[in-house]
Subunit: 274 residues, 2 copies
């Protein structure tokens, strides 16, 4: 799976599955019994039910790490189950550290069956360089946090800079640069951006700054983002934007129905904006 660039595989997978939905796997022990094994079995069940309506799965590392080594084993098994179901696997770990350390995180996460990793950009270019190298040489993708979906994100990410722009637009500039070496004409880059679906008013501007980046849009469903407002995110590519939903799908009475409904809604929005 690692021979073609992530952006190529993403384009192919979105087209073949007819979905831009990312299945967020955040098993919460307040709702899922049985520790690490319970979390694994719950995720496997959700994958079996909802995968056909999705293009990727996004296991949340925190929900597995809370169970220690057993949790990591469960994370690996859940990732393999998602890959076996035909889904791309995006490890939602939001890692960021100095370069000597991100080299190790790259080894931890940018390997089969994982296709892509979420990354925190605060420490700057040198800190993400090992991730970029692993993405370029191993056919992996990154989704870099640019403007997150939580209410408090405005506090530091939106701070006004001396040039009048919010701080996160400087992050967007960097992400565009970071993505250049992995950009394939017509398919965009393998280096994507996380942009909260809760701030649709920022999406148009961030698309201008990052024309080649696939956008990963969390925050629909439980966090209140409205899929109908996400049209500008696609940038004319079916795989230009992925919509991630976790709680609103995995805890639904019928996860398959919830995923199908979201898929159809998002695909229609893309069709209107293609």
């Amino acid at each position: 799976m690692s021979t073609s660039p992530f952006c190529t595989r993403l384009a192919q997978r979105v087209a073949s599955r007819g979905s831009q939905i990312v299945l967020g796997l955040d098993p919460d022990p307040a709702r899922v019994d049985g520790g690490a094994v319970g979390a694994r079995d719950f995720c496997a069940d959700v994958i079996a039910k909802a995968a056909e309506h999705c293009v990727a799965a996004k296991p949340q590392l925190a929900c597995f790490e809370r169970f220690g080594a057993d949790g990591w084993q469960a994370f690996e098994e859940v990732s393999q189950a998602a890959a076996d179901a035909g889904l791309l696997v995006i490890a939602d770990a939001k890692r960021g550290d100095v370069d000597a350390t991100t080299r190790h995180y790259a080894a931890a996460f940018l390997r089969d069956p994982i296709d892509a990793l979420t990354v925190n950009p605060m420490l700057g270019t040198d800190s993400v360089t090992p991730f970029l190298e692993a993405a370029a040489h191993g056919g992996r993708g990154l989704f870099v946090l640019v403007r997150t979906s939580n209410p408090g994100a405005a506090e530091l990410e939106d701070l006004e800079m001396a040039d009048g722009r919010p701080w996160h637009e400087a992050v967007a500039d960097r992400v565009r640069q970071w993505g250049r070496t992995t950009t394939v004409p017509g398919q965009g880059s393998s280096i994507g951006a996380v942009v909260g679906a809760t701030v649709p008013e920022r999406i148009h501007r961030l698309r201008e700054l990052m024309p080649d980046q696939p956008f990963l849009l969390p925050g629909v469903g439980a966090q209140g983002g409205d899929p109908a407002e996400l049209g500008p995110a696609f940038a004319g590519r079916a795989h230009g934007a992925l919509v991630s939903a976790s709680r609103s799908v995995i805890y639904a009475d019928d996860p398959a129905q919830a995923a199908r409904d979201l898929r159809n809604m998002v695909w229609n929005i893309w069709e209107e904006h293609r």
Copy 2:
């Protein structure tokens, strides 16, 4: 160990051990053979040799996660070995995510035998609130990234804001606020700050902005920071600043000697600035 606040235990431990040195445990497979077990045994050996000259150990999660579930098991065993040797344990994981997720990271890391966690602040107050609650109620500490030690940190962390200050000073303002509820008179706060020893020219200003925070200073040794310039970091408290060294100690021909030398150098600097 969880009944007293982290800042109290930190003050006691620095006084009783006569050291402000944090033993950074970053086992690199390029230098340490044997996978997860090799990393565990290497760290246990370094702890046995150097612990008496240190006050805390700081295992780097990336170096363990690269070995998957076996690596997590090794991380837990290394953390216990450090605690058994009388060291405080600072999990260097630099986690940061939306609040529903940091709640799980708090469960993963703010528990015995771990005393404190490094945290990424980019997502703002709501994102760190579960960490702050766990710190306040469980007697744990946090070290929040304010200005990191890597060369590229200036790129985004030092960006000039509309008020003329670098962005990281807004982070410092927040960290001071976050630390208020865990501040003990005369002992400072349980919510500390990571400030690179590679930028001593910023330490005086960051001390003004964060008078109560214990500073965790990485970047001496292999990254080039000079301990002699760190005096202003202590703020009149022996436990006001911790100096972290990893490669320059753990790969030294004589780790005990390297740790002892660094301890004496740093303690003398503190004595000159008390």
